[in-house]
């Protein structure tokens, strides 16, 4: 008689979690803005995210940075405050409706932006927080947003001073957005982040913030196969809505 030792098959040892595991959101098929309160329009729920690869226009890396001269804050302190009070640093023409859980990976925020301050035309869109750690956080745009890609807010030490930075990697989403950016939209977008960074710098104790901007074209080509993104365009939807306003007003009176 032969005795055979019975052994339980051993599962392969699990790899230890990556150091960045807690910093990244989990993939989602469709976004949900359930955790946002206060926003009037939710044009994000049900949409997918769009990376720079799903966009239409030229691919740009835009960097805005400001040295926090006169501030004693560390990069970690800057980012903690930036996350907590993100909406308060925006210029007046934009509103940011933060998720209840705050700026943490996986959360969705809604945005409401008036391209011209005081005008009734408002673009309603949103972002998803895909990455956050102690020194940076990153938002990705949803389908329909004017820009396809992501934007990273970070702070780092440069010698004795802390630098706050906004860096976007983005393409316009469709041909109409590309035209919009060519005819003034890009300048307005740049101004938005320059003003935001100046507000951040002042809040951190920098008396006279000087924002430095840099734009690098990563890919000059337009991705015509992505021109169909126009079907989700909030730019076109907003224009249609605005142009139809007089008709709605008249039919409301009759």
């Amino acid at each position: 008689m032969t005795l055979t030792e019975k052994t339980t098959p051993q599962a392969p040892p699990e790899a230890p979690p990556s150091r960045d595991a807690a910093n990244w959101a989990k993939p989602v098929d469709r976004l949900s803005a359930e955790g946002v309160v206060g926003a009037g329009v939710d044009s994000v729920t049900g949409k997918r995210v769009n990376s720079p690869l799903q966009g239409f226009g030229q691919l740009w890396q835009k960097t805005f940075r400001v040295t926090l001269e006169g501030s004693t804050m560390s990069p970690q302190e800057v980012i903690a405050i930036w996350k907590e009070r993100f909406a308060t640093f925006w210029p007046k023409k934009g509103r940011f409706y933060a998720p209840l859980a705050g700026i943490v990976p996986g959360e969705v925020a809604l945005l409401d932006i008036a391209p011209v301050p005081g005008s009734p035309v408002r673009f309603s869109t949103g972002v998803m927080v895909i990455y956050a750690d102690d020194e940076s956080f990153t938002f990705i745009s949803p389908e329909g947003h004017m820009l396809s890609g992501w934007i990273t807010f970070s702070a780092y030490r440069d010698g004795d001073v802390t630098v706050a930075q906004v860096q976007a990697l983005e393409r316009t989403s469709d041909p109409f957005d590309e035209l919009g950016l060519m005819f003034g939209g890009s300048r307005m977008n740049n101004r938005f982040w320059q003003d935001t960074l100046a507000n951040v710098a002042r809040a951190m104790g920098a008396a006279e913030p000087a924002v430095v901007s840099e734009a690098v074209c990563i890919d000059k080509r337009r991705q015509w196969r992505q021109a169909t993104n126009v079907r989700n365009s909030i730019t076109l939807r907003t224009l249609r809505h605005t142009l139809a306003a007089p008709v709605r007003w008249i039919s409301g009176r009759s």
């Binding site: 979690p17 990376s51 990273t152």
Partner: protein, 115 residues
């Protein structure tokens, strides 16, 4: 923070870039130099082997976009192998998995190129 290391191996028109350590925006020089060497050597397909990847932040994923764009522009096929479940999820989250061919390991990636 660990440094990025990028080692190049070449076999015919297929090159493998073995990426190890941390991939952040600070890795741009190493990654782009590795890619450039592979192209200069005549590679038409490049496998990014991530089995030594220890950490990647959003700056690192941005570099992958730049690599993908350069590869598309140059008519070079870009493949990925050795990704842990975590890094596969990141590529799915950012929809980069729609533009880069993902394979279990380097052997499978090479086989896909040779088909």
């Amino acid at each position: 923070m660990n440094a990025t290391s990028v080692a190049l191996e070449r076999s015919g028109v297929v090159a493998t870039l073995r990426i190890a350590g941390d991939v952040t925006s600070a890795s741009e020089g190493e990654l782009m130099a590795g890619y450039g060497r592979a192209i200069d050597d005549g590679a038409r397909a490049i496998i990014l082997d991530f089995s030594g990847l220890e950490y990647m932040n959003s700056g690192g994923i941005g570099l992958l976009v730049t690599l993908l764009v350069r590869a598309q522009r140059g008519g070079v096929r870009l493949l990925a192998s050795g990704l842990s479940d975590h890094y596969r999820e990141i590529l799915a989250l950012t929809r980069l998995d729609e533009a880069i061919e993902i394979h279990e390991d380097e052997r499978a990636a090479v086989a896909a190129v040779e088909v």
